[in-house]
């Protein structure tokens, strides 16, 4: 399709179009009514495959726990500073319990792990969108996967559960709200009828230049290849190599699930 000239909007797209990750907060607390309304709208608005609801949320306001989580995430101060932190947990413990109530085991494999991971990801996303519609700022914390077992222990998670990511919530500190940086262009990411990579090197070079200009306008140092060289530098070694073994120790499965039945 040719790119339409007109943008249509709703209050939802307005909220989405304003999104930036917020890591600095005022002291203003989040009212219980607001938090509860956000969580329930998030749970209602996120679909869940086969109605399994294989996720849980752990809401943390205790300063000691937030401080420990900040350290486990590699020293992310905003995790300690935010008034409310919510862990989005992939959680197969409930469906395992449900199956056991009928005397059968839960089938456990990569697909079940994906069910739970995607369920948690979806509900965390609706939670952020709902929170931002109330004027709160959010940032997702993938650093919860730095020390998955320690995080699980701190939050008291049962076996077959892990924190996919955390969410910091708080009123944005106005002077520390970052400007939006460009996403990769539409034509690189969105395909019509069939995936067509096109001239990916040229597209990436153009995005590198756009992002470099953005960072320099903010007075930040940046390489010319502001996106691709960061990808190359930070991800040429496998990130979080401990994750696979840690999640397996926590009861998550990544195989076909048929290993024992051949």
């Amino acid at each position: 399709m040719t790119t339409p000239q007109t943008r249509l909007s709703t209050p939802v797209t307005d909220t989405l179009n304003r999104h930036v990750s917020i890591r600095h907060y005022t002291d203003q607390p989040i009212p219980d009514e607001m938090l509860h309304s956000i969580i329930e709208a998030a749970r209602r608005g996120a679909p869940t495959s086969s109605n399994l609801q294989t996720y849980s949320l752990v809401v943390v306001r205790d300063p000691d726990t937030k401080q420990k989580l900040a350290e486990l995430a590699g020293g992310q101060k905003h995790v300690a500073a935010c008034p409310v932190f919510i862990a989005a947990v992939a959680d197969l413990s409930r469906v395992a319990h449900a199956a056991a109530m009928h005397g059968v085991p839960l089938g456990e494999n990569l697909e079940m792990t994906l069910y739970a991971t995607v369920d948690a990801a979806l509900v965390g996303m609706t939670l952020c969108t709902a929170a931002e519609s109330f004027g709160l700022g959010t940032v997702m914390i993938g650093g919860m996967r730095n020390k998955p077992q320690e995080v699980a222990q701190l939050l008291g998670l049962p076996p077959r559960a892990y924190v996919v990511y955390g969410i910091c919530l708080g009123y944005p500190l106005p002077e520390r709200v970052p400007s939006q940086k460009a996403r990769l262009p539409h034509e690189v990411v969105v395909h019509y009828e069939r995936y067509e990579a096109g001239d990916l090197s040229a597209h990436i070079a153009a995005y590198d230049a756009e992002l470099a200009a953005h960072y320099r306008a903010e007075g930040r140092n940046t390489p010319d290849a502001a996106w691709s060289s960061v990808v190359a530098n930070n991800f040429s070694k496998p990130p979080r190599p401990h994750l696979r073994a840690a999640l397996e120790r926590m009861g998550m499965r990544f195989g076909s699930g048929e290993e024992g039945t051949e």
Copy 2:
């Protein structure tokens, strides 16, 4: 926290609170301007870890392609019937290309696969919320993982990419809009400070009864244990046992990424 009596709302929470999955559509087409506005709001509103943007979207309107996708999803007629189908693709091909532009390989392991899977899940979620705010109906199609290689081939995906789920979009057929069914109760899913499973058997039994009453009120047959027995029946065998091998053949990695470096 004690459950607040007051629910607060915004247009976003209103949209989320109205959500039901929609599988029957009118003939009304989705205007290009609307579709483009939805996609761009979705891309802006969904965060992406380390700005990697490891997802792609494939927008399908061709009837033949939708028909084939419907069959690959196990005969889901709504995939063929919806005016617009969008595949949410976990896509590491772009970052692999970016790394190669700087002469290094991409580190590939479970964590990178999770990056891409979660990125795709998040942007698909904001896409659905944005679409519903325009009055469209949505349903996510995990059945895209039934035949992941065939789906990838049909959509022309590069290596290191797979469809996490699809999304059907269309104007809801009013007479086929289902009523909302209850989610698991707040206290079962949402925990404060620490995860406390509580009396899970009692909670599940209560939810079983609530769901059974809902189905019977709709004139549908249901076992008494309307949730737990379905979980037990459908998930005591590992679902989609082919998935692990198929995704590996497609270039997704699930190991530590350090296998070759010891």
